[in-house]
């Protein structure tokens, strides 16, 4: 077994007005990676490239140590995918979709799928078009989890869902990675709940990877400084990532171990880290 369940090396893909540039990413086995970035940063494009739904210009993507081009049957069985919008035909019922899936996947586990349906209270006879967004998402998840996949890839799957469903999904994720050979790559622009359970955070901004690091290391590295304008002048700007000045003081994201002196430094969340990094790059 090689080291990474998913590895991206120097990936490039150029479009008019947008490009993925020299993207690198490494996801070890047994982990959850939060893939974050603004809308249009390149998260979905990267995921499509991983799934070989679009072709790259250059670079290499390996899944379970195997190249994703072409995406073999074995890889398709091993990857559970949930995309932003599910693309099942609107007029089919949950039951019909179950039958199609049963015949599509070699490792389909009917008992598991039925258990998920029960757990999510998904009605078998309802048509896709009559399901709510949350229900459709749960159906996609149930399918992704029922064909013995080892890697889950989710694109904005939890955005737009209510806190109760998001909470249930966190439980599912934690259950999934109880097996050390499983991993999850979950893209989102809302990190609040995913932040706690993520082992790694990959942050993409206008097609470039800003960082791909252990979450705990990020939280150790960065801090939110709050001080007066005068105090701020005394700080070495090399350690300031981004700042927000207002009439009554300054808030700044800093490398906290580098700042000497008696300052008020709070723990920075992943969203703070993302926000200030983007501000800095844009300015």
């Amino acid at each position: 077994m090689n080291e990474y369940i998913l590895e991206i090396k120097d990936l490039n893909k150029k479009y008019d007005g947008f490009a993925i540039k020299d993207l690198n990413l490494q996801l070890p086995y047994g982990c959850i990676m939060g893939f974050i970035g603004e809308n249009g940063a390149g998260k979905s494009t990267t995921i499509k490239l991983i799934l070989n739904l679009i072709n790259s210009d250059s670079g290499e993507i390996t899944l379970f140590g195997e190249q994703n081009f072409p995406l073999s049957k074995k890889l398709k069985e091993n990857i559970g995918v949930v995309l932003d919008e599910n693309s099942f035909p609107q007029d089919l019922s949950v039951n019909t979709i179950h039958k199609i899936m049963k015949n599509s996947f070699k490792n389909w586990n009917e008992i598991k799928f039925n258990n998920y349906l029960k757990r999510f209270t998904l009605p078998l006879d309802k048509k896709i078009k009559d399901l709510s967004r949350g229900m459709k998402m749960k159906l996609s998840l149930a399918i992704a989890l029922s064909h013995q996949a080892k890697l889950l890839i989710l694109d904005e799957a939890t955005s737009g869902l209510d806190p109760i469903i998001r909470d249930e999904i966190l439980d599912l994720f934690m259950e999934f990675i109880q097996d050390e050979s499983h991993s999850i790559l979950v893209s989102s622009h809302i990190m609040s709940d995913l932040e706690k359970i993520s082992d790694y955070i990959a942050f993409i901004h206008s097609g470039e990877m800003v960082f791909c690091e252990e979450k705990d290391k990020l939280i150790e590295k960065y801090g939110l400084l709050k001080c007066s304008h005068e105090e701020f002048e005394t700080i070495d700007k090399a350690y300031v990532i981004g700042q927000r000045k207002h009439s009554f003081g300054v808030e700044a994201l800093i490398k906290k171990n580098m700042i000497k002196g008696n300052f008020q430094i709070e723990a920075a969340g992943i969203e703070d880290i993302m926000l200030y990094n983007v501000k800095e790059i844009n300015s």
């Binding site: 047994g30 982990c31 959850i32 966190l170 934690m174 259950e175 990675i177 109880q178 050390e180 706690k196 359970i197 993520s198 082992d199 252990e214 979450k215 705990d216 939280i219 150790e220 709070e266 723990a267």
Partner: protein
Amino acid sequence: MHILIKNTNGEPIYQQIVTQIKSLIISGALSEGSALPSMRNLAKELRISVITTKRAYEELERDGFIESFTGKGSFVAAKNTELIREEQYRIIEEFLQQAISSAKLGGIDLNELENMLKLLYEESE
């Protein structure tokens, strides 16, 4: 076994786990040889990153409080009285440091502080 994670205080989560498991072992709530939950299970229950629980267990192992065996899991190590004494020293030092700071703030001298400590110690016996 109870472990409670506070998100409000600045203490890193792995540190909170280390401190709490240590005090469970010292107090005897976790006895020698008893099995600890697996890292993945602990992460699941507390809803935290597996890397965080892994780091906590590594720290506990390094400090000699637990032993880990691949494939079997982690267990409370044989009680090392010296180690526990060391840990208690550390905790006491921390509290005394706080007492000293408060004393200095209130202009209480060492003599007075010693008397207070003596009195309280005798009272608790």
